[in-house]
């Protein structure tokens, strides 16, 4: 595992990875470091602290401030220690009178153009300029302040989260370099020359109007208060901090929650976090205000009908009410008439408890999770081919990739911190292949070498992946040694015969995919010839009728090229939510107990039955869409939903709403009155990630600690709520702390036997499998073999989706996300992120727009065979003609009113990415949208806000 940052201290320049060691003498101390290490870092590693301003260990050395000057025996002058690498036998002096005077003179010049308002400055107490002035012993500024200066420079408050005060700027370029090197956006620059030099956003614009993506890297890098969080300006410096894990996407960034008492002042990316290594995005860094938003549900509520107002009750009364209803349903309709849904937003421990409650207290396997609608095909496809339902690498592994293939993913928007790491590797020269119907931002990476964009038609992934494999085999680009040693020979022979058929050639599939054969050949060569080829994919792979087939096709490519089992390669699913991997690991699926152990295996059931003291059903339970169908059929009557908004996120909204209305008891546990809760009979207040202890598992299989930084607003953390409900149902579970739940998980799950909170505290994080064989976890999987022994090349026959464009529905709709909003938007819509995306729009290609007389801002009716909705138009050439695109971050948009009940053949993951539609100009909202507004108003009234006590903002 590569580590570039030392978390507890700024060492001035980044680590250098060299096996050759060099010994130098600094201030008489003998120091041995890797060759190429800067003198500044070598000194800092030994607590010899050389003053610095423009240097920081997240950025390459720049050598502009001259404060880190040192003297080196036998060399002339005063070289900057940040840009001077160590050399064998070098003798360095960091402190003497000459150096002291030099540094004071430099500092004096800086301060002569800097306000002396330290006592009222927001950075007071956390200012490197102030610290260095003290360190060099600055006592006077001989030049006065009456000369030309920047003290009256205009401030920019346009960004919702941070201010830019150029009067405080020392033009060290750390912000500019952070935007380039860490984030990769290149939104900042130094405008002007000499004394006129100043930091500028974009084309000397306000930050909000520039290309700035508000990742916070510049704010983090700033050594003064020039770039400063508004929360700190308003509330002062935090007084303590706790390291925890972000609850947004599957990157799983570590943050310091910096606090005043129990109030979060700011979230600062934690350098020691192995997933993010000190970087962040706008969501994790700034969009945490939802945790104390006035919409938070703070008290349990119940009602007999969704046409009644809510009645606020005690926790015990809510549990009893819910349990009585569930028991009544089971008495009347049978044991299998109820079920539940775990959440990928909740912790591993909470997810484990919900599925345990369902399998024990409910007595059936009707448990499913929101991963059903995103990455369930990943589980099926990777388990079938590689033997384990997980990605194979660390994020850091990409630093060794030579060829990067991105399929159906938009990492700069949906996984921004990893997107930045990817961009860094692309700037270093890795080749890029993007397989996506849309022109994604990754293709606009500054300093990107020529990229190959296979802009295929929606729904044709499998035909394309087959064509890539066909070329690799036809042109003899495969890795025969890996195939011989690591792949099942019988499966390979069958697969080779299949893939070599002419119908899988790029020429034959071009008519299906719309991709020119020469581009397919170039992409296959780029991946197979690169040395290290790494594939990253997202929901553009899984959310199709052949999502599972496509995942297997991706694994096939990695197997035949030997791109598995080492750093720089692999098959890497980019998980949507923070704990998608964990929710799957924890036994949320109806056919698998924790650790992907099938319920049909008696030995597995015996183990769980002994631990849980109940009989476990030997048959799989219902998946989410099956639950909906059964509800409408009158066979399924009760549901417990923790932290998942199925009414907004699941496809075919009419169908989902009909199913929810068919339930006799819907128990929703959530932090807000989400769309699903409006159909509920029991509303149990949820807790945010800031209010509880636990763990999340990110897309690298990395188990990270979530630490409570403030008490649950409603008094109970989510895991405690599940315990209360289970007890009322008659199945008591006793845990004093989530660490005890993890101990039980470790006892029952072969890939987790080595995991404990104690070890997590020691190691920081652990990547499963973590067991007797891999006591410190497994950064890279499948190094020696696969869990199924040999890799299994699966036949991936292309079966066209039934969802095709017709004369009546001539366009194909595909859906996705943007940077500032997160999934259904429940969190980010309640933050200042609304400044960037206040509504979902429909992107229409200029040619399709012209055919229909559409211009930007027109209201468009979008009709599919499932329903219709109305969105505002945005003419965009990011898609090809015939394809329209929208996001689904706002419930009133009704994006899922038009998505259909088509799904992946193996897992029922919905086919969100292909819906045949017609688009036309309209003048009013759809019928569903009007009904949505009316229903929403009614349900908001039913909340009876007078019974909700005030929430502190």
């Amino acid at each position: 595992m590569l580590e570039y940052f030392e978390p507890s201290k700024d060492l001035g320049t980044p680590a250098v990875l060299s096996d050759t060691m060099v010994t130098v003498e600094i201030d008489g101390v003998s120091i041995t470091v890797p060759e190429g290490t800067s003198v500044l870092r070598a000194a800092a590693l030994n607590d010899i602290n050389i003053p610095k301003l423009c240097a920081t260990d997240s950025l390459e050395a720049f050598g502009s401030c001259r404060l880190c000057a040192v003297q080196i025996e036998g060399r002339r002058g005063y070289p900057a220690s940040c840009t001077t690498p160590v050399a064998q036998g070098m003798q360095v002096t960091t402190q003497n009178d000459k150096l002291g005077k030099l540094r004071r003179n430099v500092m004096e010049l800086y301060i002569s153009d800097h306000p002396l308002d330290c006592l009222t400055c927001p950075a007071n107490g956390d200012c490197e300029l102030q610290d260095v002035a003290g360190a060099v012993g600055l006592r006077e500024v001989r030049y006065g302040f009456s000369g030309e200066n920047h003290l009256e420079a205009e401030k920019d408050h346009s960004n919702p989260y941070f201010s830019f005060d150029p009067s405080k700027c020392i033009v060290c370029s750390r912000c500019v370099r952070a935007c380039e090197e860490v984030q990769g956006t290149f939104a900042l620059t130094i405008d002007g020359r000499g004394f006129d030099s100043k930091v500028a956003a974009g084309q000397d614009q306000d930050f909000i109007d520039s290309d700035c993506v508000s990742c916070g890297a510049c704010v983090q890098a700033c050594p003064t208060s020039t770039l400063m969080e508004k929360s700190v300006i308003d509330q002062g410096q935090p007084e303590h901090s706790i390291v925890t894990t972000c609850a947004y996407c599957g990157v799983g960034c570590s943050f310091e929650a910096q606090m005043k008492g129990d109030k979060v002042i700011r979230m600062v990316p934690y350098k020691g976090g192995e997933a993010n290594q000190g970087h962040s995005c706008v969501k994790g860094r700034f969009a945490f205000g939802y945790a104390t938003h006035g919409d938070r549900i703070k008290e349990p509520m119940v009602r007999d009908s969704i046409d009644q107002p809510w009645r606020v009750v005690s926790w015990d009364e809510a549990f009893s009410f819910a349990a009585a209803k569930i028991h009544k349903i089971q008495d009347q309709y049978g044991r299998e008439s109820v079920g539940g849904i775990t959440s990928s937003r909740c912790t591993n421990e909470e997810t484990f408890l919900v599925q345990k409650l369902i399998r024990t207290a409910f007595g059936n396997n009707n448990t499913d999770t929101c991963a059903r609608v995103c990455h369930s095909p990943t589980g099926f496809g990777l388990k079938t081919t590689l033997g384990e339902s997980a990605g194979t690498q660390t994020f850091e592994s990409i630093r060794k990739a030579d060829s990067i293939v991105v399929i159906g993913a938009n990492p700069t928007d949906a996984h921004p911190v990893f997107g930045s790491l990817m961009r860094r590797r692309l700037r270093e020269g890795a080749s890029l292949v993007v397989i996506d119907p849309r022109d994604i931002d990754l293709l606009k990476t500054p300093h990107l070498n020529e990229a190959i964009h296979l802009q295929l038609r929606p729904g044709t992934n499998v035909a394309l992946i087959n064509a890539l494999a066909h070329v690799i085999m036809r042109d003899n680009l495969q890795n025969d040694t890996f195939i011989d040693e690591r792949c099942d020979s019988e499966a390979f022979v069958k697969w080779k015969a299949f893939i070599s058929e002419e119908r899988n050639s790029p020429q034959a599939t071009a008519e299906i995919t719309g991709v020119a054969p020469e581009l397919v050949i170039a992409a296959a060569q780029s991946y197979a010839n690169a040395g290290n080829g790494a594939i990253f994919y997202g929901l553009g792979v899984t959310e199709h009728s052949q999502g599972s087939t496509m995942v297997m096709g991706i694994a096939n490519l990695a197997l035949i090229t030997g791109n598995l089992g080492r750093e720089g390669v692999g098959v890497n699913p980019l998980r949507g939510q923070n704990n998608v991997q964990g929710s799957c690991d924890m036994g949320s699926f109806p056919h698998e107990l924790p650790g992907y152990q099938h319920v049909g295996v008696k030995a597995v059931r015996d183990k769980f039955e002994a631990a849980w003291n109940v009989k476990i059903d030997d048959q799989p339970g219902l998946r989410i869409p099956n639950m909906f169908d059964a509800a409408i059929s009158g066979k399924f009557k009760g549901m417990y939903v923790q932290g998942e908004d199925i009414a907004q996120s699941d496809p075919n909204t009419h169908h989902v709403e009909k199913a929810l209305k068919s339930l006799d008891c819907l128990i929703v546990q959530d932090i807000f009155l989400n769309e699903t809760a409006k159909f509920a009979h029991v509303l149990l207040p949820g807790s945010t990630f800031l209010e509880k202890d636990g763990t999340f598992t990110n897309a690298e299989r990395r188990i990270n600690r979530v630490r409570k930084v403030m008490p649950p607003l409603a008094g109970l953390a989510d895991w405690e709520v599940t315990l209360g409900l289970a007890k009322a149902l008659g199945y008591e579970m006793n845990y004093a702390h989530p660490s005890e739940i993890m101990d039980e998980i470790a006892m029952l799950t072969p890939t987790f036997t080595g995991v404990s909170y104690q070890k997590l505290e020691q190691q920081g994080s652990l990547q499963w499998p973590c067991n007797e064989e891999f006591p410190l976890g497994t950064p890279t999987m499948h190094v020696k073999d696969f869990p199924i022994g040999k890799g299994n090349l699966a036949i991936t026959e292309f079966i066209p989706t039934e969802e095709r464009s017709t004369r009546r529905l001539p366009l194909l709709l595909t859906t996705g996300r943007i940077l500032s909003q997160y999934n259904v938007g429940a969190q980010t819509r309640r933050t200042e992120n609304m400044a960037w995306h206040s509504e979902d729009v429909l992107e229409v290609h200029p040619q399709d727009a012209e055919d229909r007389g559409i211009v930007d801002g027109d209201w468009l009716g979008i009709t599919s065979r499932a329903g219709n909705t109305v969105l505002r138009a945005k003419v965009s050439s990011r898609m090809q003609p015939g394809v329209v695109y929208t996001t689904f971050h706002h419930p009133g948009s009704g994006a899922n009113v038009i998505t259909t009940d088509n799904s992946d053949w193996a897992t029922n993951c919905p086919e969100y990415k292909v819906t045949a539609v017609q688009v036309e100009k309209v003048s009013q909202p759809s019928t569903w949208q009007k009904e949505f507004v009316a229903f929403d108003k009614k349900q908001q009234r039913f909340l009876r806000p007078e019974q909700q006590s005030e929430v502190n903002h």
């Binding site: 396997n365 009728s545 048959q619 998946r623 099956n626 066979k635 053949w905 193996a906 897992t907």
Partner: protein, 69 residues
């Protein structure tokens, strides 16, 4: 949109179509195995009942698969 029964029929036909690489018998075995592994008891019972009472909308491989349940 599909009824619950139509949805089940669609699902089994889709599974069979995606397992059609060998003989009909191979496809039936793979499809049946998939249903055994992933389908709930009630879903299996419903599709068996459908085959017993009608079965017209099931593909040949699907019919053979359901018979194996």
């Amino acid at each position: 949109m599909r009824t619950a029964q139509q949805q089940l029929i669609h699902m089994v036909n889709q599974i069979a179509a995606n397992n059609q690489s060998g003989t009909l018998e191979d496809a039936a075995k793979a499809t049946s195995s998939h249903m055994q592994k992933f389908w709930a008891r009630s879903m299996k019972a419903d599709i068996i009942e459908y085959l017993d009472t009608d079965g017209a909308d099931l593909s040949d491989a699907s019919k053979a698969a359901v018979k194996l349940l």
